[in-house]
Subunit: 728 residues, 2 copies
């Protein structure tokens, strides 16, 4: 690919049959080199035979609905917990699908309920003996005998999924009316794998003009239960959860490999399921590994078929991405040529930019060209402001790809929707140029990074590098901090507690960030009861490491403190049982390196309350009444920073950078290619001799850039960037 | 006693030798009938031989310091956890008293440490084998061998207490200089009991003019650790905790009775000790019962000695009150004639007013006549405003004693401090008159109460009726709600989970209030995992009972919900693990009985966040963004109200009253002797035919009183009360 042009290339346009002139006009204006189809659109021969490369979307598990209809026992499944029913007598009937969306789920009656299902008294937490319940297929209900009045009962049962969820979403969102519901087949069955092989062969025959097969994605969608439309449209949506890979067939295959059979309750976990906020159990980690191995094995076979036709295989890092895990070891075995993700934010851009083992990394921008955006905004509906929306996303994305480059950008959806938005059409032309400028600098050589390494410590580690449980989970301290980091000039890695337990803390790490809420996977939950965790991090800080705790870091109801590293952080949290105890009083320090850029009031977002000092050597920099909000402390040769909250905004981005530098004892690095205005950031590309300065705000900004050869003053218009030649 | 005079009687004045004229002048002005001494003051013969009755304070356990000094092994003890020490090698030395106040505690080396002490690795939670530690009496330290680097170690050890804490507080507060430190002896030892008998005999001989022996109080003080003055003055203060009744001798006596020996860790509980916020364990409840039995047994003997001299015995409901437990069954066995407490608030007034088995109930008012008040205010120091202070307390107390009368009020401390405060002297004269008016109405017959019974449900139940863990614990939802209830015309009882488990819910109860934070004794903690608790309350609500939950009611990490009665209350709380789940959307209802008096913004104090609906039948009346703050729901024949917080203030008092009436399905009772202005309240005394209306605010108020015979309009000056004859 040609990476030097600033007007053409690296841009994927969604074409639309019936709008050929528009397609070709915008392809030219936006400098597209690729035209793609989308879910709901087709490319006409006129488009396919134009000079553009063609990406064709392909979702193998919902591709042949006739086969799916003919083989209902080969549909994908999932394990479901019925809504709890309170017993009002000694016999209790549970309507299994009550509250769920009956166009998504049907009860699996093929596999004997008595073999697979479980009934629980959730009041006691005990399983109900199988002799005490029976399933009535005609009513879809389970009747439980000998129930205790006022106890709450649930049934874990298996369902087939009869409407593939992404297609269901697109169908409902775009009012596709009586168009047939597509169903997802499960390649865990050999018959389904055969069908997919056959289908792919025929599909490749039928798409001679396709250059890139854009797989959307492999086999299993992220977890997404819909509700009874009369009550609640959505029940749960978790981009990271493997719950839709669960089926009776997969469980049997797992049993063959691991020697034991997971129960339904292993997937239900008293209604928590295995959601991304739950610290993953050993069983669930094994399950993920098992699915990953399977998806890579069969996925590799499909990709080889594509390669044999001299086509490239790109994968969409979303939708049916479960089991792909680009940051895991096996990913390289797929042989993918490229990866694409639909993103809104900086951290998601980094997730794509740092994806290993592919040649092409592409960002699908938002707003998606649907009337209603993926995040619910009325993008192309009356009242929608697609240009403002796009500018907002691009501002956050741009600061991330200033640090790590990507190869392409693009859009998806119905192209004709842009017709009435000439400002959007012009804006995207300019955005494309700005993107190509950055891309070209990266291709010449990486920008300078500060010589320090920051590690996020969570229960997920690198498996959720630059990821959380979907798009930006606002209010999640880990996600907020990750978004702030995504545009900072520091090396960022992601480590798990299992990494530490198995291999200790890599000596190259300067600062560890632990950000989350008690018991959640981001904070670490039960891992904080393991002495090895405490030992490793104590040793790390003691010998000069930096520790930044955000929210409820190291928190667990265990031992004589709540933050398990309270004695190192210098703060702990009152959680209601120690209110009789007096606390050390403190004065707020007026002057500290990490607050040097801060305005008089910092907005840390929603902060954790009832923080108190465990030691009078803790220095409080900011407090909400008597509860410290920002505190620092030295521990042996190391340094800690506690932040009671974090919200991605310019002031907090700077606060976090300064916290990293201070805790790493590298304060002097702040004078290294940094901007005086917190609304501006910059990157220096030594190979090109170029300095890029960006204005992240909607207002004009003056800023002074500190460089090794003195300062550079400059003005930037709202949202603008400037590239300056600073060759020595 | 003469209860009819409005100018004299029912008033206890603190006399002061050297200020005889002032004493007698104020006794007359304030209408005192009793003169008392205080800690730090004495009465001269001139005062003693005046016409006033004499109360003499007596604290038996600190009365004879010579005996205490001669018998150091008979001093009171306690069990202490050393401050945690982080191991930096395989040998770790713990300075036991580091951080504690060495004028309060000395290490008990008389009882073999190896028999009594325990060392813990708090990082693992495991006890260190006794062969791995040794005590060095010369340095007061324990050295632990084979310690794991970075683990945290603590030692549970026994101390003698060498400075009786109340005397210590008065000494330090009033700069008593080199006056000898008084030491508390422990009547658990037969020798100490003999000494107390001897002392009391001699004391009674020496006090022929004393009419009332005011015991302060019996033997064991509430729990109060002081800290190293250089670091932290106070460590912990818990009015309800029995930790200062713990000693090696008492443990042996307990073992004789119960057949097993509590360990030091039973009293330390990983640093939580047995504080009032902790749900009491079975062992701790047994311990309280054991101490209570002992205190009643020996206390009764002392009181009989007093009675034999034709004196009365009054007890102070504070200081060394541990083991007295006026609300327990045994209290009547003491034979006390009266009870006195030093109080600031309405709930404390009710605690005294409803004390069973005594003839006289007396409130000691604040500010205490010390330069610095007991709550830290500069009462009689320059800048102090004792009149404003007293008016504030009296306003809260008055609304409580409007409902339940007491017999006396009084003050304590140094009388001469009022000399420079003529406004205070005048204010107290008026306050005395107002008090006597209320007293006289009560003596004629009780005021009307609404025909409904409200029960606070906590782990403490009636043992902490009208009490929490000291004076007003602001922010504690149970305490805030109790203060609001203290002035409402409803019958209020206090029940425990053990009451429910053993005897169910009394059918006379209309409404149950559960208010607290997860795991704490007020909310109930682990009791919510007991099916019997769930069953009993479900049945209660189902058959028409009302349930009011405040804060984190019924909360526990157990089952598939966090509020264990979420399915009844209609709300639950997100605690970080279920963020992937969508929630039911709601509209805020604009019109509801319980909000009819509410201003546009209610201040519920600090509220619990992340509340969500579990059911679409829940009606949300107020919300903080997406988190309901006030919600109501019907469950079968019963009704529930959820309040995300509660703060004692006029609007919330009315809100709570309305919540009670609504949940009890007795809304019509609101028209029964109620005031239109939320700043005013009233009580009707049918025997006297009098209506008393009080203005709780610092501003004049107009109010309309609903009576069975129509409305009465009236105006009240700031803080004033009016008594109106409404005889039919």
């Amino acid at each position: 690919m040609d990476n030097s042009s600033l007007t053409t290339g690296g841009f994927t346009l969604p074409g639309e049959a019936g709008y050929e002139a528009l397609t070709l006009k915008l392809a030219k204006k936006w400098g597209a080199d690729v035209i793609r189809d989308s879910d709901g659109t087709q490319l006409s021969d006129e488009i396919i035979q134009s000079d553009y490369d063609i990406y064709s979307t392909l979702c193998l598990v919902r591709a042949d609905n006739e086969w799916a209809k003919a083989n209902p026992s080969k549909l994908q499944q999932c394990c479901v917990m019925s809504q709890p029913v309170t017993a009002d007598s000694d016999s209790t009937t549970v309507d299994l699908l009550e509250g769920y969306f009956k166009e998504q789920l049907v009860i699996n009656t093929d596999d004997n309920p008595q073999d697979w299902w479980q009934v629980f008294d959730r009041t006691t937490g005990l399983e109900v003996d199988k002799t005490n319940w029976s399933f009535d297929a005609s009513t879809g209900s389970v009747t439980i005998s000998n129930t205790a009045k006022w106890h709450r009962y649930t049934v874990n049962f298996f369902c087939y999924r009869i409407w593939e969820e992404i297609s269901m979403y697109n169908h409902v969102t775009n009012d596709w009316g009586d168009q047939e519901h597509l169903m997802p087949i499960d390649p865990i069955h050999p018959e389904a794998r055969d069908q997919i092989r056959d289908y792919l062969t025929k599909w490749l025959d039928a798409h001679p003009h396709t250059k890139v097969v854009r797989l959307t994605s492999m086999f299993y969608n992220f977890w997404w239960f819909w509700g009874d439309p009369a009550k609640q449209k959505f029940i749960v949506n978790d981009w990271g959860s493997y719950e839709f890979s669960v089926s009776t067939a997969a469980i049997l295959k797992f049993e063959e490999k691991f020697g034991y059979r997971p129960t339904s309750e292993d997937f239900i976990n008293a209604g928590l399921y295995n959601n991304s906020y739950k610290v993953p159990s050993k069983l669930y980690r094994d399950w993920m590994d098992f699915i990953n191995e399977f998806v890579v094995e069969f996925g590799k076979e499909c990709i080889e078929m594509i390669h044999q036709r001299d086509k490239l295989a790109f994968v969409f890092y979303n939708d049916h991405w479960i089991g792909i895990e680009p940051y895991n070891e096996r990913f390289k075995d797929f042989g993918f040529d490229g990866i694409i993700d639909g993103i809104f934010n900086g951290f998601e851009a980094r997730k794509v930019a740092e994806c290993p083992a592919v040649s092409v990394r592409e960002l699908r921008m938002h707003p998606y060209l649907f009337p209603t955006g993926v995040n619910g905004e009325p993008s192309f509906l009356p009242g929608g402001k697609p240009t403002d929306e796009c500018k907002r996303y691009w501002t956050d994305i741009r600061r991330a790809i200033l640090r790590k480059g990507v190869d392409r950008i693009g859009f998806g959806g119905y192209l004709h929707l842009v017709e009435n938005h000439p400002d959007f059409v012009d804006y995207i032309e300019n955005l494309g140029t700005e993107f190509r400028q950055l891309r070209s600098l990266h291709h010449s050589g990486a920008p300078e990074e500060l010589p320090l390494k920051v590690a996020f410590l969570t229960a997920w580690g690198n498996t959720r590098a630059w990821a959380c449980c979907g798009h930006f989970n606002r209010g999640n301290y880990y996600n907020e901090a990750m978004e702030s980091l995504s545009g900072l000039p520091v090396e960022t890695v992601f480590i798990s507690f299992e990494d530490i337990l198995q291999g200790g803390i890599d000596s190259s790490i300067n600062v560890i960030i632990n950000a989350g809420l008690v018991n959640d996977s981001w904070s670490g939950g039960e891992y904080w009861s393991k002495p090895e965790t405490i030992e490793a991090i104590s040793q790390f800080v003691s010998t000069g490491g930096g520790l930044i705790g955000i929210g409820e870091p190291t928190a667990l109801r265990h031992s004589d403190q709540y933050f398990q590293l309270a004695h190192i952080l210098g703060v702990d949290r009152e959680v209601g049982l120690t209110r009789a105890f007096n606390r050390i009083e403190f004065q707020t320090a007026s002057d500290h390196f990490i607050l040097a850029d801060a305005a008089s009031t910092l907005d840390l977002g929603k902060t954790i309350d009832n923080i108190y000092l465990t030691d009078d050597s803790t220095v409080v920099l900011s407090a909400n009444e008597k509860s410290p909000a920002i505190a620092t402390r030295a521990f042996d040769q190391g340094r800690c920073v506690y932040l009671a909250g974090h919200l991605y905004n310019p002031a907090n981005v700077r606060l976090l950078l300064r916290s990293i530098l201070w805790s790493a004892q590298k304060e002097n690095l702040l004078d290294h290619w940094s901007c005086s205005s917190i609304h501006t950031e910059c990157a220096y590309y030594p190979k090109s001799g170029k300095l890029v300065v960006i204005n992240n705000s909607d207002e004009d900004q003056n800023t002074t850039v500190a460089t090794p050869r003195g300062t550079i003053k400059l003005s930037l218009q709202a949202n603008a960037s400037k590239t300056i030649d600073v060759t020595p």
